[in-house]
Symmetry: D3
Subunit: 235 residues, 6 copies
């Protein structure tokens, strides 16, 4: 199976490499991963504004992915930018790490918390969770106050995630955690072992959901995400 991962931010050699590596490490033997980053757009996605700036370019890659006969597309950002629009213009499954993680949280936990990068993005996440219909089991959205591009200071990231995770469990009643950024790579396992509750890594969640949809031969409903009418569009 061929999966196109779209990293919806400006090309960043290091991030593209570690992302590709992570997807490959977690993919099934028969799953091939191709990664592409944006030529235009934002350096990272931390607002609705960033999403909107990134979206047209993400959508171009989605069109191309379908033409190139990929089996599925993953938009590699927890905010799922352009997810619904992408589903309109393609038949192949389009997977968002945010939505995929939420669906998994519903089948392993009672109440979940999402650990996001910045307080600023909490309303954005809460709005999406409500739009998706996943509010019923939400305990809280909590932030670690580390911008996306500084997440690689791994020790600080891990320690802060751990501290916020404990508050989510003790104060908010969470029993299941979702890492709130696809840039929080490689920490889920240790966090899960330290806390003793499941920690969902959105990168892996998106990969496994893509594999699942392709395996099952199902994709987004074209009645739910119909093709846009033909018309003049200038980008």
């Amino acid at each position: 199976m061929e999966i196109q991962v779209i990293i919806p931010i400006l090309y960043n050699k290091h991030f593209e490499e570690v992302t590709l590596q992570e997807y490959k490490a977690r993919a099934r033997p028969d799953t091939n991963i191709a990664v592409v980053s944006l030529g235009r757009g934002p350096a990272s996605i931390e607002s609705m504004y960033d999403e909107q700036i990134a979206s047209p370019w993400i959508l171009n890659y989605v069109l191309e992915a379908e033409k190139k006969a990929f089996d599925a597309v993953i938009i590699n950002c927890m905010g799922d930018p352009a997810l619904y629009a992408a589903r309109e213009i393609a038949k192949i499954p389009i997977v968002g790490p945010g939505e995929a993680s939420l669906a998994l949280a519903y089948i392993i936990g009672h109440k979940y918390s999402v650990l996001v990068v910045l307080k600023k993005v909490i309303p954005r996440f809460e709005n999406k969770i409500r739009m998706y219909g996943f509010s019923e089991r939400l305990a809280s959205v909590r932030s670690i106050e580390i911008p996306v591009l500084q997440l690689e200071n791994e020790e600080k990231t891990f320690d802060t995630l751990l501290a916020e995770a404990r508050k989510a469990v003790e104060e908010d009643g969470a029993d299941t955690l979702i890492l709130g950024c696809t840039g929080m790579l490689g920490v889920a396992k240790e966090l899960q072992e330290t806390l003793g509750i499941p920690v969902i890594d959105p990168t892996v969640a998106s990969l496994k959901m893509a594999e699942t949809l392709v395996d099952m031969g199902i994709s987004q409903s074209k009645r739910a995400y119909p093709y846009p009418p033909e018309k003049t569009r200038e980008l």
Copy 2:
């Protein structure tokens, strides 16, 4: 008060003129209206894809409007494209006709229906209504199956709106109607008189909400819509 109306579609002389005329006709004496259309983007907005293609250009005009000291911005499309992103990058009130109409429906009716252009856009509207938190009083979203750019066949548009409105009332229990496209200009009054129930025109709703917010000296909360962090963004 100076209001910038952004028509989030490719420049269309006729539509820009009638839109400007409608806003001017309904504005208070001390309200000045300026209208601008997109140089790039879609010819009309009938999908999430259209929204995403339009959004970056809408946002540029929002930034400009604040620089030019406008008092408020209206994004003149029922789908409220880029609404939340626009609120992030500005302090002045950003008003969406969709959201404004829904808020008004809540204070004049018990259950409302939205009459949209195409069946294709129903999921998009239902998702936004849920994200906004306005599902509680929703009776139905119904379509008239007339594309945006053919709404000007006024007789057909009126007759089909009337027929669907009656179904909304009789079959879905609606007592209040919202016109589901800012291109359905000039029909609200007659529809309201024929049906005997209130019909909310989103164009006028957006204007009055903008005037209200400016009058009250309130605008979107910057804790709800915080400024995006500074970073490289290439459009």
Copy 3:
């Protein structure tokens, strides 16, 4: 436009004067305000009991206002006493400051808190908010523990509002505030500037919503609020 403001409490010269003054100060040039207080009823409204004692007399003034050709009626109390009954017996728009403020909170904020006078009224407000359908974005209802008739000690009122507002923001996640009594006059602006988030003054909210409805030519749906059947009624 002629607006009848009904102050739903026993005549109180000072309160009637400051209320009239506030409405006039915030009205548009072409809006005329008339204020009337009750001859019978409660001295203030701080319970469902007070609402019920006030309601028949409010409703008489509503009937009269429509006869006198007013364009709209405002029931000047945050609890919106007799609001739904008033809409049944009139065609002209009836506006409640509570409901109007909530509708505005939905279009400028992500989560709102209401700052009410007494702990005792919290269940009453929460019940109305749920009945209206505005629970989805509610952060909290908090009280300042100052009875309505003592709100005029402005310094104490302001300081307590500020303290509770900060708790609403820090502890409950509110980003938008609603003053929970129409007697909290003249503090919204300073509170807003001090806190840096929007503060909705229900008095002004009711005025602007009344102006909006009259401007738009819409009013409560008579299918939602039908005329009561004719019958013997003795008051």
Copy 4:
């Protein structure tokens, strides 16, 4: 146990007699029933307006009932007029037939419908059901289009109830019915037997809930329904 039944409409000899008779017939041997009607108020309750006109006089009887050492009060109208206000001014349990019937529907059925007198009252019932928190299991509110004071044409009332009940079951998915007016006396049993699903008679429901609360030694929480602050009130 002594129960005060307040019939919240103008004195109507026949209705008072049949109501008293029905309560006595269904009361436990040690339950005594006293019935009182209003000296002022509406001839029947079919709107929010009627409720507001009736409420002050209902509340007077509630105060008296507590003084006279009744053990509980029933406000004998499906719309539960003045219910929450009555609970504020008394310690003894105040029971509303509407609320009591809904609570019972929740423990015997999966989805319930309410059969009300007039289409006009549907929004009023839906609003109260939402305020009470009983929307989750609501199938529909349906009307038989017979005014309260004409319900005594028993054959027509029964036949129309039966016809609407069947629609509630077949079209709306109801499996449990609530009679939507305390004037629909003596039809529940036959309706239940004809339909083969439970039919809740609100008169009996209110009686049994009153007996239950007195037996259990519980009453409305005074934190939920606190005493109104002392103040001048002129009725």
Copy 5:
């Protein structure tokens, strides 16, 4: 009226005696109580696992109770094990203390808390409350961390209940309490007097609801709880 109380745990002489005594003490003069415990099953119910182990044996007693012409069955455990299945196989009312207590909380309070035995059972209770449709007025589920079989240390149980109850009121906004285990016998009244808010004893709640349903001649809807199709079943 004859009521069969099924204690859904392994026979325990003391608990069976005090349960019988409590039911008899609170029953009406014409209500006869019979109590039966399980011959196989768990020693107490503190998990979904315990419920499943107990359920087949509970259901056998339900079948027997209907054959023996009992008028109603109470499954004497707050978790309502096998409640819905029991309703499928019987026509006589089946009452669960959990569900009965929740219905009563809805008509005496604004927000309720449930005080359960162990933190471990909180998700189980929250899930059932959501399934029943009683989440709207839920303040919190709190635990006293005393296992069912140690509740008889009455002083410790009372003190811990009191402490958690106070937190429910002060921190969670509860105004009404439900004891979360039918083993918390004989403490409701004192707790209620100490706290000044109503405390619902699930044992008594189940008894009064059973008496109410029998008195009213209503039972679970067989459309909501249809008889299981005939088939081979081996236990």
Copy 6:
């Protein structure tokens, strides 16, 4: 990876064979499937009663599966009998086809319908969907009125599924379908192609979710599904 599939009904050679075959056909190359049926329990599961009769024996197999070092367990019935109890007594992931299908419907559709075997089971499914928190996107639960053990008349089953599916789409607004019984084997693909919308086969859904959870190294949260306290239990 080793997956234990528990068929929660009495041993039925044919059904066990086709189930094993279906799981093997859809499993990844490195996934091994073992199937086991019940020695005691019901012949099929079409009621809560059937679930309760099956549950203790299901749970025994769950305990055994963990002892035998299986990586995951699937309880092969759409009603997910004993699912939550099973999660309490095991660390390895326990997957239910019902819950797994619902989670997948949330990420490919806007509104889904479930096509169940009998009208009788509709309340049971609606209750579980609400308990799981998946009501938000539910269009309808519809039945084909074919008992589980007669599903093998494939033509009739397919035709009836197709007819009900069309009603779900046209009348209820569904855009995504879930087959409501794990006995509806081998029809999903053809149904999907005929209808042009995705059809989720619960058998395959459960398999892919089990593979996903094992791949991701996550399992049910033991805070959400804690081990039952030790105590005497006699089955």
